[in-house]
């Protein structure tokens, strides 16, 4: 059926049975698409034509258009459709569009939102913005010019943003005499390029935006073309949201709704999958599980809801869940990680600073993140990988990103809702980059937090104590191990559950691979800290005896523990006293130059500034010092 016939029937329906028309239009679907082309490919003319042909232009606008066409138009006395869509006054005078504009039109089947993006080379940023919400892309080519550098750039970006549905609109066919040969020549060239990019399929259509060929109605000028018209294809192309319905359920929590003490609902827009009353769910990153008690909406409770809907869920159990968390189906949760590889499109005039903290927004949560130097930058014209120390505005590169906490995510290619993110400058608040997650780095991949019912409080309670980490620090030979050992014996005698970690029992096993360089000392303490944390989770009173010479690492360990659980004990023995004792003969070796990096000799010891306790082993015996430490531990228990 031709477009003009369609609009005639529509008008008749509106005139004769408005209720039937309304009913029909309440069941329309919606497609969002992006048009991209170079400056003179006729993009604005094409969009103007779609608005005009679908009767989205009113008579007064048409009158404006006619007078504007005479004043600014490029079509002589004819109507310049491009003027319908060129927006801001300044750019209208320049004759170019410089931003993303959204246009609307509708047919009997669908409502369309068109992202109109500029063809100018420096505006990659706008195209990426427009493409991020598009179900389909129309890539315009001037039949006289063929495939240009910018066509490649646009195709690369469209593919990067994961748009599967691509139309190659070969425009201005009227200016090449509707030549079938020219059309197929361009299609062949594009197919070659598309294959390089990994574009699996595209639909080529010969059109003329100006003359209207194959836009709404099939053109008599191209009898050799058997495919759909542009509008016909737009009406039938699949929609992303529909395709996401078959994926596992995911919803990022936007808002916890607590109107009163009896109601606690978790509001969000379903990103993928479906959810039904009674379904088992899991909250990430905590990993807690429950079941859906109700799906609440203003229009009543639903039995089930699907991707794209904004809803509110309540759970059977009181489960911690707040803004930023992701609710997933219980048996197919998404990954949780804090380090990723991702592609970044840089959008800010100030270039990227590797190592600098930015804010990262993904789903409904925002956290601090740092970005490494690019692994490579992509030359989007040649697809070459370039080495680069940074990314400038409109540059695209692959980087590693590290976030300050573990976040639920999915690869962008699988689920843009949980794989697309933005970076925000902490000072200017500008959106500086768009990012697409590839995968989690090996270190953090596939480690799910398993929520446990017997938690740290329960572990400690059954032992009749509170967990503690008592961290002895001091020079070699200061008496740390001796005192810690006596402390443990005393606590044990009192029926407390303890464990002593010291340099010797750790360095023979867990940390066997580490030496005594500064980097190895840092890693040594990090590992001891992690082990101590696990043991404190188990409810134990953990005693550690390590030189742990650097303040930064002691602070790091302190921050790993629950507030109030960490107790730093400085075994304060002057170097000359420790060296005089030299129980293990190490000072002698170090002085002789046979032991490198020995603390106090050729490696520094940074005195604690805020230790909970200091024991002086010159004035006190080890027994008395231990008695004081035990008293302090018990006082806190």
């Amino acid at each position: 059926m031709s477009g003009s016939d369609q609009s005639y029937i529509t008008d008749t329906l509106i005139a004769e049975d408005i209720d039937a028309y309304l009913h029909k239009h309440q069941h329309k679907t919606m497609l969002r698409f992006i048009t991209c082309g170079s400056v003179d490919d006729g993009k604005s003319t094409l969009i103007g034509r779609l608005l005009y042909d679908s009767k989205m232009i009113f008579e007064d606008q048409l009158a404006n258009l006619e007078s504007d066409s005479r004043a600014h138009g490029t079509q002589g006395q004819g109507i310049d459709f491009a003027l319908l869509v060129d927006g801001l006054a300044a750019e209208r005078e320049q004759g170019i569009t410089i931003d993303v504009a959204y246009r609307f039109f509708a047919t009997d089947k669908r409502k369309f939102i068109v992202a109109d993006t500029p063809g100018h080379e420096q505006y990659t940023r706008n195209m990426v913005t427009g493409a991020s919400t598009a179900d389909l892309a129309v890539i315009l080519v001037d039949a006289r010019q063929g495939i240009l550098t910018q066509t490649r750039r646009h195709s690369y970006l469209v593919n990067l943003l994961g748009i599967k549905n691509i139309v190659l609109a070969v425009n201005k066919m009227d200016l090449v005499g509707y030549s079938q040969e020219r059309f197929y020549e361009i299609v062949k060239e594009y197919a070659h390029f598309a294959e390089q990019l990994g574009i699996k399929s595209f639909l080529p259509i010969p059109i003329s935006g100006l003359a209207g060929d194959n836009i709404v109605t099939r053109s008599e000028n191209t009898p050799w073309y058997q495919g759909p018209t542009l509008l016909g294809h737009l009406e039938d192309a699949p929609i992303n949201a529909t395709q996401m319905q078959d994926a596992p359920f995911r919803m990022a929590v936007q808002w916890v709704n607590r109107p009163n003490l009896d109601f606690r609902g978790f509001a969000g827009q379903i990103g993928s999958g479906t959810i039904a009353k009674g379904d088992a769910i899991r909250v990430l990153p905590s990993g807690k599980t429950s079941r859906v008690k109700s799906i609440v909406t203003y229009d009543g409770q639903l039995d089930r809801a699907m991707a794209g809907q904004s809803i509110t869920l309540t759970f059977e159990d009181e489960v911690d869940c707040s803004r930023g968390d992701v609710i997933t189906v219980a048996d197919a949760p998404c990954e949780v990680a804090d380090q990723f590889e991702a592609t970044l499109v840089w959008m800010d005039e100030a270039e990227m600073l590797p190592g600098r903290p930015y804010l990262l927004k993904i789903g409904t949560q925002t956290m601090t993140a740092t970005v490494t130097e690019p692994k490579y930058e992509v030359n989007v014209n040649t697809l070459e990988h370039l080495t680069s120390q940074t990314l400038a505005v409109n540059a695209i590169g692959v980087v590693n990103i590290s976030t300050d906490r573990a976040i639920p995510f999915e690869a962008y290619a699988q689920n843009p809702d949980l794989g697309g993110f933005i970076l925000i400058d902490r000072m200017t608040n500008a959106t500086v980059a768009a990012g697409m997650v590839h995968f989690a780095l090996r270190r953090s991949q596939n480690i799910h937090w398993q929520a446990v019912d017997i938690d740290r409080t329960a572990h400690a309670a059954i032992k009749g104590q509170q967990a503690r980490v008592v961290w002895f620090t001091g020079l070699s030979g200061s008496g740390k191990s001796t005192i810690a050992n006596i402390v443990e014996k005393k606590l044990h005698a009192l029926g407390k559950h303890t464990f002593l970690l010291d340099g010797d029992n750790v360095r023979h096993g867990l940390n066997r691979d580490l030496g005594f360089t500064d980097a190895d000392r840092v890693e040594n303490i990090r590992r001891v800290g992690e082990v101590a944390k696990l043991m404190s989770d188990a409810g134990l009173i953990v005693l550690t005896a390590f030189i742990s010479p650097f303040r930064a690492e002691r602070r790091m360990v302190r921050e790993m523990m629950e507030t109030g659980e960490f107790m730093e004990v400085h075994v304060n023995t002057p170097l000359e006293v420790a060296e005089a004792r030299d129980v293990k003969g190490l000072y002698k070796k170090a002085r002789a130059g046979n032991l490198k990096n020995f603390t106090g000799i050729d490696s520094p010891y940074e005195q604690p500034e805020n230790a909970e306790m200091t024991v002086n082993t010159v004035e006190l015996t080890a027994e008395d010092a231990a008695e004081q430490v035990v008293a302090a531990i018990l006082a806190g228990l």
């Binding site: 329309k28 919606m30 009113f58 007064d60 931003d99 409502k111 904004s310 925000i424 608040n429």
Partner: protein
């Protein structure tokens, strides 16, 4: 879930109105979750009615967690004032009404003061109200399809401390990730209806049975013809020209504002389907009834830079 159930599920597709509704709700929740002191600008028109309805849905069963603000000019239609009170009460929301005290004092009106009327009551009034209450985010019912310069307006529009809009300082909006961060003194205008068209609004009002001002439906009303615009004589403050006699005509309004500035259209459409029918078959666009953008087609853009919505 069985694979059959999944399959039948995937053939379900949200309609365009369901998608628009879900998007608007998502925007409202994102903005409110990160705002300190949000407000909804409520003009009593059909777009405001839709926006308020969506806000009720977004936060149900809680009432929308912000007040409504009506920047009043004292020259709105009487029917609008009546619905304003009722709508706020029905939603369980606080209604703030602000009138620019300087305009009150000087008796600014559309007959004697021309464009000063809009500048003082609406543009200045809005800025004053936002400053007075310290609102950091204001929801507005503007749509991208209303006017060419609005096609490029972001869903979140950032305004400087002096409420100015700078086209160069607007942020890219990717996916549905809204960057709501702002510096001290800056504020945000949030437009949850950005992607709705006039027809979408009408269809939604019809589908959801939303209460709108009766002026949208045709009824016999007293009007005078002023330079081709039919102006309704809504109260005794309307100065009649010499020899001018209000005539009863069956008219309705396609947009609502200050009654002396809002042109009526002759119509018999007394029900919502009839209004939609007439709209679809008509040949003039919605904004033509407003005196404000007749000067030049870029005037809306200037107004926006000055701080008018």
């Amino acid at each position: 879930m069985t694979s059959t159930a999944q399959k039948s599920m995937s053939s379900d597709t949200l309609t365009h109105l369901q998608r628009l509704e879900a998007e608007s709700i998502h925007i409202m929740r994102e903005v409110v979750a990160t705002a300190e002191n949000p407000v909804m600008l409520y003009s009593v028109g059909k777009d405001s009615a839709c926006m308020l309805h969506l806000a009720k849905k977004a936060f149900y069963p809680a009432p929308p967690p912000f007040p409504l603000l009506h920047v009043d000019t004292t020259w709105k239609f009487q029917d609008m004032y009546a619905l304003r009170e009722k709508a706020a009460a029905d939603a369980g929301m606080e209604l703030l009404v602000y009138q620019n005290p300087e305009a009150v004092e000087k008796g600014i009106n559309p007959f004697d003061h021309g464009s000063l009327h809009t500048d003082m009551w609406k543009t200045d009034g809005l800025k004053q109200a936002l400053t007075k209450y310290g609102f950091d985010v204001a929801f507005g019912g503007a749509r991208r399809d209303e006017e060419k310069s609005r096609a490029k307006e972001r869903i979140l529009s950032f305004r400087s401390a002096s409420h100015r809009w700078d086209p160069k300082q607007q942020r890219p909006e990717l996916w549905k990730l809204y960057n709501t961060r702002k510096a001290k003194g800056e504020s945000i205008r949030a437009f949850p209806l950005s992607n709705w068209t006039e027809l979408d609004i009408w269809q939604y009002i019809h589908l959801e049975n939303i209460d709108i001002v009766p002026l949208y439906y045709a009824a016999p009303r007293p009007v005078v013809d002023r330079g081709g615009m039919l102006i309704m004589v809504d109260d005794a403050r309307m100065p009649l020209l010499e020899g001018e006699v209000p005539m009863m005509r069956s008219v309705r309004f396609r947009t609502l504002g200050c009654y002396p500035l809002t042109g009526a259209v002759e119509s018999e459409a007394a029900t919502l389907p009839e209004v939609i029918q007439e709209m679809l078959l008509t040949t003039t666009s919605e904004r033509q009834g407003r005196a404000i953008d007749h000067d030049q087609s870029a005037s809306m853009e200037k107004k926006k830079q000055e701080g008018y919505f």
